[in-house]
């Protein structure tokens, strides 16, 4: 292991959000209906004299013995919620009747703005019944049918 550095300050006006999830969040089975991912929403004011805002988020997703296919959209609230850019869109999913289990980590580099603004992630599909379940870990420690284990949503936002 190589030690590279210590005692450096990194990023400005850093804000964090730890969301302790206590319930599964299922996205819609109806095509085109989007769900705000729990723990993804934050109100942020960029540091003055910075050019970019970094939005980093980690969360758990699974689909057990079913097809899933989701679009993830990063939105901001500027007189209403809209996608910041379609270029921030991302897809994930599996084929027919598969098992999908993964920890999702997304990082976006967003042009800075002036004043306070809300940010969030939405998740939905363009096809019926391709939903996914967030936060709940249904199999754990070699045991199936676990229903009481959940993964936090971790959110980090800062200016550079």
């Amino acid at each position: 292991m190589t030690y590279l550095g210590i005692n450096e300050t990194y990023g400005k006006n850093t804000q964090t959000l730890i969301t302790v999830n206590t319930a599964v969040q299922n996205t819609s089975n109806t095509a085109g209906v989007y769900t705000v991912i729990n723990g993804s929403e934050i109100t942020y004011t960029p540091e003055a004299n910075t050019s970019k805002v970094i939005y980093e988020i980690g969360l758990y997703a699974e689909a057990i013995n079913k097809t899933c296919f989701q679009h993830i959209a990063l939105e901001h609230n500027v007189s209403g919620w809209t996608q910041i850019s379609t270029k921030f869109g991302r897809n994930f999913g599996g084929n027919n009747s598969q098992y999908f289990r993964d920890y999702l980590y997304f990082r976006y580099i967003i042009p800075s703005w002036s004043g306070s603004r809300q940010l969030r992630l939405q998740s939905g599909s363009h096809i019926n019944n391709y939903s996914v379940s967030y936060h709940q870990i249904t199999d754990w420690d070699g045991t199936g049918s676990v229903t009481d284990r959940f993964c936090n949503t971790s959110l980090l936002v800062y200016s550079v």
């Binding site: 292991m1 190589t2 030690y3 590279l4 550095g5 210590i6 005692n7 450096e8 300050t9 990194y10 990023g11 850093t14 964090t16 959000l17 730890i18 302790v20 999830n21 980093e56 988020i57 980690g58 758990y60 699974e62 013995n65 599996g94 084929n95 009747s97 598969q98 098992y99 999908f100 289990r101 993964d102 920890y103 980590y105 870990i137 199999d139 754990w140 420690d141 070699g142 284990r149 959940f150 993964c151 936090n152 971790s154 959110l155 980090l156 800062y158």
Partner: protein, 170 residues
């Protein structure tokens, strides 16, 4: 900034600089993961927080693929642990910092080559702490291997992925 008193009772003011530690694994040895919890090589790091109210960002990137010798699909449980004595006797799971990752469990064979990023924000750490990721397979029929890929650049050859770890006070 924080205010403290020296031995003479004088007020001393410090500028608390937030810490960041960066570790790069170099040629980690392939790990075959069975159904016992094992520390993931390169995932351990230590940080001294400058203020208990600050949170810690933990980000670790590592490679997973099927262990061809033992099965045809893989399923891994992963969890973050913390310690204040380098995991000698003080070992605690970080609540809510765990996840599953697996290949498809239906198909006869699913190799799934995956680069996993574990990213967690942690609070409540005061003073020096060590953090690490541990993992186990769901069963010994679902064993993956870490760090080493068996194919790269179009040939059947071993390719090692160096892990990377960033622990940051935020």
């Amino acid at each position: 900034m924080s205010t403290r008193f020296n031995i003479f009772g004088e007020v001393m003011t410090f500028i608390n600089q937030k810490k960041i530690k960066i570790f790069k694994g170099e040629n980690p040895t392939k790990q075959l993961i069975d159904d016992n919890y094992t520390e993931i090589s390169g995932s351990r790091g230590e940080i001294l927080t400058s203020n208990v109210v600050n949170k810690i960002s933990y980000k670790f990137i590592y490679n997973i693929q099927l262990d061809y010798n033992t099965g045809n699909k893989w399923f891994l449980h992963v969890k973050l642990q913390k310690s204040n004595d380098n995991f000698n006797s003080n070992i605690n799971d970080v609540q809510g910092a765990s996840y599953n990752i697996s290949s498809n469990m239906v198909a006869v064979t699913d190799h799934r080559y995956s680069l996993s990023t574990a990213f967690f924000i942690i609070d409540g750490l005061d003073g020096t702490h060590q953090l690490r990721l541990v993992c186990r397979a769901y069963s010994n029929s679902n064993k993956p291997q870490l760090h080493e890929s068996d194919y790269f650049d179009g040939v059947a050859d071993t390719n090692v992925f160096d892990t990377s770890l960033i622990i940051r006070e935020v």
